[in-house]
């Protein structure tokens, strides 16, 4: 120690490198630079098109100063109403389905075969993008909010069941065991031993999912699955940027309001 200190006297201190081995460090740095250069070179930027489009971009930005709520109000109202309806229905159904799946996906409650089945359901639901599910469902069920409703319910399962199952796995064993030792049946055990421990998290996650579902319902309309997205797409293709700005403002305000509301509810129950 002291020898090392003597040797280092008079030299300025240098920050130790994140990766010790210099060969690895340089290989990593050069490799990433090479990849980024290759990736960047594959992207063609058409400056002429951007210069022409820039005017449109400016129109879009300035439209936020003067959003047009009135001229397409009927369409906007219908779209928003449909989005809200889809959000509520799919969140309720999604939660109702994901609770039993979460119980099945918690290793400390469920036997191994049930556990594997429920985990597989969660994995499938998480791996599939909402838009892709919506496209397939629109192909099967036709246009309309039913496809969007099923898509959002399905996506809710993967999100809620996974996080709820993790919470159940982390619960305190002693409380659950205390209920069991009174001679409680399985349903009583779940109801009084497990449920009170995970309830705050379940409510918080449900509120959060409501928020996500509303945001997602705003884009499902792009592929014909109902909601405000259809109105938005129409407005974009007509280059009616003032209507677009109005719709985006409504979405942003609603999301902020939902976030604020869920913050209050989560603070009260925790």
């Amino acid at each position: 120690m002291s020898v090392a200190l003597e040797a280092k006297l008079g030299q300025a201190w240098k920050k130790p490198h994140f990766i010790k081995n210099p060969a690895w460090r340089w290989a990593l740095i050069l490799g990433s630079i090479a990849y980024f250069a290759a990736a960047w070179s594959g992207i063609d930027i058409n400056f002429g098109r951007i210069a022409r489009g820039w005017e449109r971009g400016w129109q879009f930005i300035s439209a936020f100063g003067d959003p047009d709520f009135t001229s397409r109000w009927d369409d906007i109202y219908k779209g928003i109403y449909e989005s809200v309806v889809m959000t509520i229905a799919s969140t309720v159904v999604g939660i109702a389905i994901s609770i039993p799946i979460a119980l099945g996906a918690a290793r400390n409650i469920a036997p191994l075969p049930v556990y594997l089945v429920c985990r597989a359901v969660i994995a499938v639901s998480r791996a599939l993008n909402e838009i892709i599910v919506a496209i397939i469902l629109v192909a099967i069920l036709g246009f309309g909010p039913l496809a969007g409703f099923i898509t959002l319910s399905f996506a809710t399962i993967g999100f809620l069941a996974k996080l709820l199952a993790e919470d159940i796995e982390n619960m305190s064993k002693s409380q659950a065991e205390a209920i069991k030792s009174t001679g409680a049946s399985w349903t009583q055990w779940i109801n009084f031993g497990v449920q009170p421990q995970v309830m705050p998290r379940l409510i918080g996650l449900s509120m959060y999912r409501l928020d996500i579902n509303f945001r997602e319902s705003a884009v499902l309309g792009l592929v014909g699955a109902g909601g405000i997205g259809g109105t938005l797409n129409t407005a974009f293709s007509r280059y009616e940027f003032d209507t677009v700005a109005a719709i985006l403002l409504i979405i942003i305000v609603t999301v902020m309001f939902l976030e604020y509301l869920s913050g209050i509810i989560r603070a009260r129950i925790q």
Partner: protein, 271 residues
Amino acid sequence: MPMQEKNGQKVWQLRTTKSQWIRWGMWLVGLVIFILSWQEISDKTLWFMMDNVGEVIVDIGSRATPPRWSYINQLWWPIWDTLAMATLGTIFALIMAVPVAFMAARNTTPSKFFVRPFALLIIVSTRSVNSLIWALLLVSIVGPGVFAGLIAISIRSIGFCAKLLYEAIEEISETQVEAIRATGASPLQVMVYGIVPQIMPAFAGIAVFRWDINIRESTVLGLVGAGGIGLQLQSSLNVLAWPQVSLILLVILFAVIIGEWISAKVRGAII
């Protein structure tokens, strides 16, 4: 403790009768809202079309299998573009998110009343608009192509990264920063030696987490013309080439799983 008389015996209850009634009332209101919502969806659905849903599923399923494996040769470039969009988009987003996060964190913001609300506004507005909507807008500004998708991904990710990062900055231990400041370090040195090492793990975690999400999102951006594999998906769907659709879906699923696996490994190594 709420009690109830039953046959002259006192029985324990979880809640008083009044609070129980309020609870039932709230459940009823919730149920009514749900039923009204469901009715609205049901009204807009053509139920007579649903009679042959089973046949439609079987029909599409039989057309989609087996996937047209030879089509993969036309997919290599779109896959490369999709990955480039996700990776470069994440990097640009991080570059823009770092200053926003420092402006938004209570302990590093230059001004609580002017700069912080502005930074929070950037975070909220970029976060609440989905990347598909950003892509839709950018396609009409910069024209269809990978570039529009790349910018859409970057803008969408700013809010997410900046929010998580500023929460990490607010949680740093002040004593370490104080120790650096006590050596007479300049504000820049305080930043580099006091704050940055503390948020580095969180930063790396956020970066790979967002990269994983961006891979998922970039696969569908092509649907609105913003490049990547979604473009092939859209054109195959338009001509009802189901064997190609199923191959593209398999490729997307594979990419998503690989991305999640890499991001889980990296986060496991950091934390």
